[in-house]
C-alpha cells in the first residue's frame, strides 16, 4: 500500500473487505494442508481462529473499547498462526499461541494498526521458544498415524539432499500446515494482487533476494536455489506476512528495503544459523527495523532539501 500526500480519493475498500480477501486467498493453502496432514490440521486451524476471535472480543469488552472483531483481522491472525503450526501439535498449543498473538502482541499495544510486530509470527516465535519439541515434530503427508516422521525439506537440504521440486511446488512435503503448498499460496497471492490488496514490492524483492543470495552461496546450483524458494515458509511469509500493512514500511523504497533485508536475513539463518528455517525470525527482525526504514526513506516535501535523516538537530536551533 502506498499512501500518497493528500488530496485523497475515497475508495470503497474497508478493513473488513481486505481481511476477507486475505482469508479467501489463504483458504486453498489451508485446504492442501488439511488434505496432506489430516483432520488434526483442520482442528488446529479452527481452534486457532476461534481463540483469536474470542480473545479479541473479550479484551475489547474488558477494556470497554469499540468491538473490533467485525473487521476480521483477528480471523486472519488466527488463521496465519494455525498455518504456522505443525500438524502434530496438540490443540492447546494453538490456543496459547493465538491468545498470545492477539492479547499481548496486538491488543496490549493498542489493537489493529498499532502493533509493532506481526502478531501471528510473534505468536509462533513464542511457541517455538516455549515448546521447541512440539513445534518441530513434523509429519509426513498422507501418513495415517501421528508418527513423528522425516525431516522438512529445509532440514534435508542442510543434510545435503535436494527434494523433488514438483512435490515441493504442489505441497507433498513435510512442514507447517499452511506452508507446504507453494502452488496454492501463489494462487491466493495472485487473487490478492488482482484485488489490489497487496503489491509486489516486498514479496518480489524478498523472494528475489533469497534466490540470488542462495544461488551465489551454492555456487550457481539452480535446482538447489529453486528448492530453497519453494520450501519452508518463504512463499507464505513473503506474500502474507512480510507485507502486513501495520508492520511494514509505507514508503515504496522502504518496502523494497524491507524485502531485501528479510531476504538476506532468511538466507543467513538458513545457511549458517542453528535453525533450518529463518523466515519468521527475519520478518520479525525487519518489523523492528520498520520505523527506522521509514524514517530513512521518507519522501521529500515539495521544495525540501535532502538531508541526513539520522543526524541530530543542532542544539538551540529549531528548539
Amino acid at each position: 500500500m502506498y499512501v500518497s500526500p493528500s488530496p485523497h480519493i475515497r475508495a470503497g475498500t474497508s478493513i473488513r473487505r481486505i481481511m476477507l480477501d486475505v482469508v479467501l486467498a489463504l483458504l486453498p493453502a489451508c485446504a492442501v494442508g488439511v488434505v496432506m496432514f489430516g483432520w488434526n490440521a483442520l482442528l488446529l486451524l479452527c481452534i486457532s481462529v476461534l481463540t483469536a476471535v474470542v480473545t479479541e472480543a473479550v479484551i475489547t469488552r474488558l477494556l470497554r473499547k469499540p468491538a473490533s472483531v467485525g473487521d476480521l483481522s483477528a480471523v486472519v491472525t488466527g488463521l496465519l498462526l494455525g498455518m504456522n503450526l505443525p500438524a502434530t501439535a496438540p490443540w492447546w498449543v494453538a490456543v496459547v499461541g493465538s491468545a498470545f498473538a492477539i492479547a499481548i502482541v496486538k491488543m496490549a499495544f493498542g489493537g489493529i494498526g498499532c502493533n509493532f510486530l506481526n502478531p501471528a509470527l510473534a505468536g509462533r516465535a513464542v511457541l517455538l521458544a516455549c515448546w521447541p519439541a512440539i513445534m518441530t515434530a513434523w509429519k509426513d503427508p498422507f501418513a495415517a498415524v501421528d508418527a513423528v516422521a522425516s525431516a522438512t525439506p529445509l532440514a534435508a537440504m542442510k543434510a545435503g539432499e535436494i527434494p523433488d521440486l514438483l512435490n515441493l511446488f504442489l505441497g507433498k512435503t513435510g512442514g507447517c500446515i499452511g506452508e507446504v503448498s507453494a502452488a496454492a499460496l501463489l494462487l491466493g497471492a495472485a487473487y490478492l494482487l488482482l484485488r489490489g490488496v497487496i503489491n509486489l514490492r516486498i514479496p518480489l524483492s524478498y523472494i528475489l533476494t533469497v534466490f540470488v543470495f542462495t544461488l551465489a552461496v551454492s555456487r550457481f546450483n539452480l535446482t538447489y536455489a529453486v528448492a530453497q524458494l519453494l520450501s519452508g515458509g518463504l512463499i507464505l511469509g513473503a506474500f502474507y506476512m512480510a507485507n502486513d500493512y501495520t508492520t511494514s514500511p509505507i514508503t515504496p523504497l522502504g518496502q523494497i528495503v524491507m524485502g531485501i533485508g528479510c531476504g538476506l536475513l532468511t538466507v543467513i539463518i538458513r545457511q549458517w544459523g542453528g535453525y533450518p528455517e529463518g523466515v519468521s525470525y527475519s520478518i520479525l527482525l525487519m518489523n523492528l527495523a520498520g520505523p527506522l526504514i521509514e524514517r530513512a526513506t521518507r519522501p521529500l516535501v515539495l521544495g525540501e532539501k535532502m538531508k541526513n535523516p539520522f543526524k541530530k538537530k543542532e542544539a538551540g536551533k529549531n528548539a
Binding site: V96, A108, A129, C130, W131, P132, I134
Partner: protein
C-alpha cells in the same frame, strides 16, 4: 515512634511506593533470579537484611558524613552488610548461594538500597529508617515472590520444587528464560497501572 508515621512507612514500602512495581527499581535481580520462588524469596530476604541495617547505620551516621563524600560512605556501609549476607548464605544456604551467584554481591549496587539511603535514611531518625528498610525490603520480597511464582509455575510446572501438574504437563520453557521475565514483569506492571487508573477514574 508515632504510630501513624510508622504505618505510612509500612504502607509505602509494601504498596504505594513498592520498589519493584511502583518505583520500578532493582530491575536487574528482579529479571535475573525470579526463575523459582526459592530464589526470589532468598534474594528478597538478603536485600531486606541489607536494607534494614544499611538504613539504620546510615541514619545514625547521617550527621557525621560530609555530603560531598556521602555516596562512597554509603557504599562502604552497604558493602559491609552485603558481605555479611553473602558469607551467611555461603555457610548456611549453600544451594541458594550457588543459584543466586553473582547477584548476591551485586546487592551493593542495587538501586533500591542506595535510593533509600539517599532519600530516606539520610533525612530521618534511625528507628524510622530501619522500619523503612524493613518495609521496602518486604515490598521487594513480595514482588519477587509474585513474579517468581508465576514464572516457576508456568516455566517449570513446580512451586517451591513440588510438581503441581501431572507428568503430561509440558512447561513453557520461555517463561523461565529472559524474555519470559520481561513479559511477566511488563504484564504485572501494566495490570497494576490499569487498576490504579481505574481507581483514580472512579474518584473523579
Amino acid at each position: 515512634m508515632k504510630r501513624s508515621k510508622a504505618l505510612t512507612i509500612l504502607r509505602n514500602g509494601l504498596l504505594d511506593e513498592n520498589p519493584t512495581f511502583r518505583l520500578v527499581m532493582g530491575m536487574c535481580p528482579t529479571l535475573a533470579i525470579t526463575t523459582s520462588v526459592a530464589n526470589g524469596f532468598g534474594m528478597g530476604m538478603a536485600a531486606t537484611f541489607v536494607l534494614i541495617f544499611s538504613n539504620l547505620f546510615i541514619s545514625m551516621l547521617r550527621n557525621f558524613i560530609p555530603s560531598k563524600v556521602r555516596i562512597p560512605a554509603y557504599v562502604v556501609i552497604i558493602a559491609t552488610f552485603v558481605t555479611m549476607a553473602e558469607l551467611f548464605l555461603e555457610a548456611y544456604a549453600y544451594s541458594l548461594y550457588e543459584s543466586l551467584g553473582v547477584f548476591i554481591p551485586l546487592i551493593v549496587v542495587n538501586c533500591i538500597i542506595l535510593a533509600r539511603a539517599e532519600a530516606f535514611a539520610s533525612k530521618n531518625t534511625p528507628l524510622y529508617s530501619a522500619l523503612d528498610g524493613l518495609a521496602m525490603g518486604l515490598g521487594f520480597t513480595g514482588a519477587l515472590v509474585i513474579i517468581s511464582a508465576i514464572r516457576e509455575i508456568l516455566g517449570s510446572g513446580t512451586i517451591l520444587g513440588f510438581h503441581l501438574f501431572g507428568a503430561n504437563f509440558q512447561p513453557a520453557l520461555m517463561v523461565s528464560s529472559a524474555p519470559g521475565g520481561f513479559i511477566t514483569l511488563g504484564l504485572i506492571l501494566g495490570f497494576i497501572n490499569w487498576m490504579t487508573n481505574r481507581k483514580g477514574g472512579n474518584k473523579e
